[in-house]
Amino acid sequence: MSSLPPGLILILGGLVLPVLPRSVQAKGALVLPVLGLLQLLFLSEGMSVDVEIAGYSLLPVRVDKLSLVFGYIFYIAAFLAALYALHVRDTTQHVAAMMYVGSAIGAVFAGDLITLFVYWEITALTSVFLIWANRSERAYRAGLRYLVIQIGSGVLLLSGILFYFHESGSLLFTQLIGPGESLVTAGPGVWLIFLAFGIKCAFPLLHNWLQDAYPQATITGAVFLSAFTTKLAVYALARGFPGTEALIGIGVVMTLFPIFFAVIENDLRKVLCYSLNNQLGFMVVGIGIGTELALNGAIAHAFVHILYKALLFMSMGAVLYRTGTIRASELGGLYRSMPWTAAFCIVGAMSISAFPLFSGFVAKSLTMSAVIEGYYVLTFIGLLVASAGVMEHSGIKIPYFAFFGRDSGIRCREAPIHMCLAMGIAAVLCIGIGCFPDLLYALLPYPVDYEPYADFGHSLTQFQLLLFAALAFAVLLRMGLYPPEQNAINLDTDWFYRRLAPNVIHSITNNLANVTDRLTATTRLAGRTLMRSVIRHYGPEGTLARTWPTGSMVLWIAVLLAASLVLYFV
């Protein structure tokens, strides 16, 4: 059992699910992560399996602390999401979700780049079905765009691997940039791999597939999606590019720009996507700093983020499930109907905003301390602004517009019991980790010598930051300055490929068609004149046109023979 690659249980189990009766499939999907987690507990650190394929030795399984921590949280998230999806009677979704999770877990245990690439592509191919499972034209198109970008990331990764292999002769997935080197001096292989990771990690300007596709996913699919794809990228960056300076800048920009979009976004699940993007920024900064403390911070952040982001997606999913809409402009006052969901959502919101005693705080503090320790002034300022931004969109906007605010008049039932249970467990974990951070710290790859609650001043300033931000929100509301929610969408970088590119291509093809028409007309004319003069007795039609196609085929032979004869004699 221990030689079985982690994740394979889910992939194979997912393939078996369709055989089961529909009503049992959801339960099967619930059991699989538990089995997987059990298998993980038996894995010992430092274990590896190597095989030889196509003459190259590969390392499909490598177990170390970094992969283990991601393995644990991926299984936990899979269990919670499967519990949340217990009511789903759609074979496609269950199969896709299990294979998706399985390949993501396989990827974090992949010891070589080829295996990583294989799992990388399987996550893309399987996850898209969670979007398509919505079975609407809009979801289909969004899924297709998502798939193209994800596969594109895979293609870049593969080309990068090829170059890297050519340069270094190694396929092992370890730190790709040596201690003395930087991204600037790295070869094209490392660059391509970096870019591939960057797409999946939603780097600025490469980010939009996330906001584009996730809101189109099914209610339960979005919960799965929020947990794995981007965190797999964070893992890959943590493994391959720790301490790469460029990541700090990239990360800060990532934390900042989504918050502005989140303010004016009407689709609350899309707000969560922007928030996801912003949270990834914190992790990227941590990886960029690259000290043990910072890496611990990034990884801890990924760990807790999976929990509270899944919790938030679950609560918004429950709202969508019960009310049929997720537009902020149509929601409000739902705390009366869905008190439990509202409570869980608030726990998630407080966790993501990093209130002391909630999980976000104990993770983010690690990163922030690393920033302070390294004396990155601008980064620190940027992250403080971003923290206030998180408070705005995830901490306040999400619960406020869904559950409080203007009463929309919608009266519905509380979320189903299994959804509440899934959210409840996630909420308990969020608070539990927030109160007992050592549980989390023990899992981190490097020893943690940090006590978030030792310095009360730190908690105090955090409270100040967050509550004054909340105060600002309240002031803005009272002054009527807060932008009202409107039924509208906002442009993002997807405009370039959804609007600009099609328009440009359209006009280019139009022009091209004109040009080719004219060209062919000219050539045809020239050919005809030539033919007329050569073979007059065949009439004005031209022999070439008449004997098409066998004649022209044979002509091609003659041309090629003549050409090769000439070439061979030259």
């Binding site: 085929m553 090629l560 023979l561 004869l565």
Partner: protein, 493 residues
Amino acid sequence: MTLAQLPALQVILPLIAAPLCLLLRSGRLAWLLSILVSATALIIAVLLLRLVLENGTVIYTYGGWAAPWGIEYRVDIANAFVLAIVTSISTVVLLFSRVGASWEIKSSEQSLFYTAYLLCLTGLLGMTVTGDAFNLFVFLEISSLSSYVLIAMGPDRRGLTAAYQYLIMGTIGATFILIAVGLLYMVTGTLNMADLANLLPALEQSRTVRVAFAFLTVGIGLKLAMFPLHLWLPNAYAYAPHVVSAFLAATATKVAVYVLVRFIYDVFGSSFAFDSMPLQSILVVLGAAAVLSGSTVAIFQHNIKRMLGYSSVAQIGYMILGISLASVSGLTATLVHLLNHALMKGGLFLALACMAFQLGGTRLVDLAGAGRRMPWTSAAFVVGGLSLIGVPLTAGFVSKWLLVVAVLEAGWWPVLIVIAVGSLLAVAYIWRVIEMIYFRSATNPDEHSEETHWSLLAPVWLLIVANVYFGLHTQWSVGVAQRAAQMLFGGPG
């Protein structure tokens, strides 16, 4: 029966069985005989391959006349490898054609069909196994003539014109080869390929040899559908009976590629072909053009069989690129792709045959909603398509990986881009099919159709599973191909 007779038996068995089929008259009996013969040929091929891998080249002289006077059959790793490919594909296609052939071929004509099939097999095996240049021409014509017949048996009348065009083109190609062989005989006085290989290096400057080389490359280029001599192929594949498309696509062009490799690397020698002739630049340009144009044209086809035909043109382009690298790794990539492409195209054509029969056509629109109606066949098509694209875990990936590594070794960056673009185009045309199968509902949903019979699914999935198997276990395929390539470069056989 001693092992020494194997090379002769390999060819003679189907040759004798072919007229027997004609005499049997019953389609069922003819099929039984054909599959027995084909399976025996497969066993012989496997035995030969094992023999060659262990003991080196096996030589069989006809009538005890030693070469260069008599005709000799010469089996080394390279052609033993091709023999194994051809016989195994032929056997799988025959497994399929018990039912599959009856869809399109009248029962009264079935014994004729199997006669032509076995003759075609004879020709292909003969071309592969022979060590005599003129004998090669004869076998080439045997396989060509019978394949014209097979293509003309298609139910669509366009099959007739396609066969006619192929006949004209094929005859010109074969005659070119005949001219080349004559010219070579003129200067060397021998027809034996091994003997030629010994004599030709001294005649490098001879004009006659150069002209022979030109005729030979163009003639073989015609048979293997090298761009731009591929024009006969899409129609021939599109309008032939489905089983014939599967058989020819998986074997005929492969054997032609092998013959090209044999002449370039073994008979003329790579130093002649690449150092004193500009063959390299010609092949690179044509190979790249084949990859790009074949894949692009494939995207716009409405008939999926035609699409697969153009995709074959592109795939042959990859093989040409591998040959043009003039390195052991490049040649290995080509030889591995011979096997892998045979597996994927065979599987795809057979899966398509099932769909065509159940859904009433091979146009793209006919496949709408096939995913629901024929889940197993559709899944087979998808896996085969992934292999065609070169997705990891499939055989297609292995050959593409080897090719890319070989290209990197040579430092040919533009070719790398060609391969990448070709793969993306492949994604596009395969995606069109997948979209139609899974995301479009049937145009006439009341028409009831269901999964094909398991006896048809079994051969399809045999090939598809082989695709995955050779994507995971490459020791055998790559190992043998590598040894063959080293041998063709003058290493130990």
